[in-house]
Amino acid sequence: MNEELIVSGRNNLMVDPQLNIWHWPIALYLFLGGLAAGILFFAALYYILGKEKEYSTAVRKAPFIAPFALVIGLAALFFDLRHKAFFWQLYTTIRLQSPMSWGAWTLLVITTASFIWCALHIRDLFPEFDWKYKFLKDRETFFNKHKKALAWVMLVFAVITGIYTGILLSAFNARPLWNTSVLGPLFLASGVSAGAAAIVLMSKQQTERLLFTKLDLIVLGIELFLIIHMFMGYLAGPQSQIEAAGLFLGGQYTAVFWIFVITIGIILPAMLDVMELRGFHIPAVAPGVLVLFGSLMFRFVFVFAGQVSHWLY
């Protein structure tokens, strides 16, 4: 026999009997942040490469999703705070040891950049649009002149945002499932594949769709590789991480992880992508929607399963 009981009766809300401090808004935000990062990454990349005309959806149209995704994500984050009136305290300090602190500043930069980028491309959606005031027109000329610099800022901060959504979780040594350094690149890959999927869904141009289908396929491959890597790390690790991996290998999150994240979210769309590239006729929306769904489920599964995993005492 080996049992460990809290005999004085502890029932702290959201902590007992198991941690339940982060809920669906966090998972939704991690997804939307990753999606926006993926879209802005491609927009900036293909603008810098000078392929604005060939891949106009990626550079001009898809970025319009980003500010909405980021604002909804930030609203979700705000919604999950318990001391909401003090949220501004985030912007009174920079604490490099806290991923949430530099993440908050990164979000400020990337959200601003995404709004400016969309403002510069608003005439692609509404040809009649006029900024009306001289002040705004001056700003437009200014940013048009420095668009390349803006694209570089967006590129770098899109990568940081994508990685940050993973590091936010991996910084917690108290939750063995989250505490793996693969999580940063893995969440970045998941966000980039979601971004590529969104571009494929929006694009009406055959060459662009083929390119982003190919990119999506490559990133899905990387994602799968990183997930295998992650499990190797867990299973070669200490008992706490072996038990954390057990949540997905026979434990309570096994079905939801292998069916929704791996099969429906990665393997199925990857197979559809391959068939598409081989010239089979595939319903255009299928792989894109599946990738987006898989990416969302991945965040949900990880946020909730991580809170179940714990040290052994």
């Binding site: 004085s8 029932n11 318990r82 909401k84 003090f86 040891q97 806290s98 917690f172 108290a174 040290w311």
Partner: protein, 177 residues
């Protein structure tokens, strides 16, 4: 100054007096607690072993909650006491998720709350309320930097362990075994 607490698991009877004293002293909201009693049972009958521990925040030297706090609300005060500044806390929950001991909880008013080692009493030279009320005198509180303090002396004399030292937190709650 380095405050620490020693808990004598051979004296503790698990009466929960420390839990109630803390709740009263610190106006802990109903249904919550900052300290708690753990009872472990090992072995096979008739060879059974029971250990009773009064647990609370470990006031870690390498505190993950302080590291991950985005606003600096969680901080290390005089004597190594880990505290939360209520009007800087945004209630994001990062510190709660980062604590391997689950020693923190979200206060119904929004901010995060935890054991303070009764900092308000300690700075006036009193003992934390849990230590003051313990009927078996199994709790010893004091300054580890002072080699003649009660807690330093008892840690010199007795065998002890800390909880999850492998988490790298350098906990300052010592369990005498």
């Amino acid at each position: 100054m380095r405050y620490a607490m020693a808990v004598d698991t051979r004296k503790c009877v698990g009466c929960s007096d420390c839990v109630v004293a803390c709740q009263t002293e610190n106006d802990v909201p109903l249904g919550y607690c900052r300290d708690w009693i753990v009872e472990t049972n090992d072995g096979t009958y008739p060879q059974l072993f029971t250990e009773i521990r009064s647990e609370r925040c470990n006031h870690c030297d390498n505190a993950p909650c302080v590291r991950c706090c985005p606003t600096g609300a969680s901080h290390i005060a005089e004597g190594g006491i880990v505290l939360v500044k209520h009007n800087k806390c945004i209630g994001c929950g990062a510190c709660i998720a980062s604590c391997p001991y689950n020693a923190r909880y979200p206060h119904p008013d929004g901010y995060v709350d935890k054991c303070t080692f009764c900092e308000h009493r300690v700075k006036d030279g009193m003992k934390p309320s849990c230590v003051a009320v313990c009927p078996t005198k199994c709790l010893t509180f004091g300054d580890l930097d002072d080699p003649n303090s009660e807690v330093s002396n008892i840690l010199k004399r007795r065998k002890y362990k800390t909880l999850i030292p492998e988490a790298g937190t350098k906990p300052q709650l010592y369990f005498l075994i």
